[in-house]
């Protein structure tokens, strides 16, 4: 069997809701277990073992939540838009479900990034909020997530809703590079990138390691949370099918 065939097979397997339901149920405990482990390690590393910053003292420690949350807000949006495009082109049900289940998680991470940034901004910048390019484009991202959720719920037929939402999500992709490069294209109050640049990260290794552990932990949390939401959505949509009925009788 060649590679193209095996990819096609894998694609069809994962596109099948019963298969995904079974496999994700097997993976879920490991994903969440690893998340709890890394989250605890990252928090301990960030809040206890990482040294204080030379300028900001202890207050900088909010970056261990703020930065991974901001990364997740962009990452989840890309997952949402790409699965939206897959759903639109191949009419794949599971991709539509992944798209719509990602929206509330992404919105939460965006809100978390905005809130922690604001809490940090008051003592450091001397303001809760400014309308600079980075902060404004990140706020726009929150509205895009909320728009996706609102539009999906406004349309009765869920397959039609998914198509409309996919287009909205794809259009919003333009905002993603704007958020990332806003601090380089324009003068902003928000500082430039520390880690996500081609240069060497301008953060000491003892602070970078817990930051990266937290970033991986947040990714795992997203995957675990997404799986739980997708599984529920699959059961709701397929409640009349044979395999769901069998599943219900078993338990």
């Amino acid at each position: 069997m060649n590679i193209t065939q095996s990819i096609t097979r894998l694609y069809h397997q994962f596109a099948s809701p019963p298969y995904f339901y079974r496999i994700s149920g097997l993976w879920l405990p490991y994903i969440m277990g690893l998340f709890i482990l890394l989250f605890a390690a990252g928090l301990y590393g960030g809040l206890v073992t990482a040294p204080t910053d030379y300028e900001q003292g202890e207050a900088y420690r909010i970056i261990f939540v703020h930065v991974p949350a901001a990364w997740m807000s962009l990452f989840i949006y890309m997952v949402m838009a790409i699965s939206g495009a897959i759903g639109l082109i191949w009419r794949m049900k599971l991709a539509e479900i992944v798209m719509i289940c990602s929206a509330p998680i992404g919105a939460s991470f965006t809100f978390l990034a905005l809130a922690t940034g604001s809490i940090w901004g008051k003592p450091m910048w001397n303001t809760w909020w400014v309308w600079d390019a980075r902060l404004t484009s990140e706020l726009l991202l929150l509205f895009l997530y909320l728009g996706v959720m609102a539009l999906y719920n406004a349309i009765e037929d869920k397959r039609t809703a998914a198509r409309a939402v996919a287009i909205l999500a794809i259009v919003g992709v333009v905002n993603i590079p704007v958020i990332h490069y806003s601090v380089e294209w324009w003068n902003t109050l928000h500082q430039g990138p520390t880690v996500t640049k081609f240069d060497k990260p301008s953060i000491h290794l003892s602070m970078l390691i817990p930051l990266l552990i937290m970033a991986v932990a947040f990714k795992l949390f997203y995957i675990g949370n997404l799986f739980m939401r997708v599984r529920t959505e699959i059961l709701v949509r397929e409640q009349k099918s044979k395999w769901v009925k069998e599943l219900a009788e078993e338990s």
Binding site: P51, W125, N126, A133, I167, I170, W186, N187, T194
Partner: protein, 142 residues
């Protein structure tokens, strides 16, 4: 790929390109408004609005910070390493304010060319390190 799927794929590519071009034009047109602050050079060149509030950002020049006795009024120079503008400010300064640190202030130019600020914000840079490392970096520079 089936023709119907191909059509939808092209539709999506067309959609993204179209929106990206439109957004690019819009951002390009608003470029000046998206600048959060002016540099001292731009202010000296007269690019900043006159008699209107605007923001100016730069580094606080070492050794220029002066405080008026018994008031909260302070004076300091800010620079972009080309031109320097004196700032006058009455009020509390942020934690990160110090000489050699980047700041952004909002205010107006007065007739003497002094920037009268209503608000001073500290702009933090992207560097994070423990104090000992900062200390040794300083020594290495000297």
């Amino acid at each position: 790929m089936k023709p119907a799927r191909k059509k939808r794929l092209f539709f999506i590519i067309f959609l993204i390109t179209g929106i990206a071009v439109a957004a690019g034009f819009a951002l390009y047109a608003f470029n000046q408004n998206l600048m959060f602050y002016f540099s001292p050079s731009e202010v000296k060149q007269g690019k900043a609005p006159v008699n209107k509030l605007f923001r100016m950002g730069g580094m606080v020049v070492e050794g220029t910070f002066k405080k008026e006795k018994n008031t909260l009024k302070v004076f300091f120079d800010i620079t972009d390493y080309e031109k320097t503008v004196t700032v006058e400010y009455t009020g509390l300064l942020p934690d990160l304010f110090r000489e050699g640190q980047g700041i952004i202030s909002r205010g107006k130019l007065n007739s003497d060319g002094i920037f009268v600020a209503e608000e001073v914000l500290a702009k933090h840079d992207e560097n994070y390190m423990p104090p000992e490392v900062a200390e040794s970096l300083k020594k290495a520079k000297k």
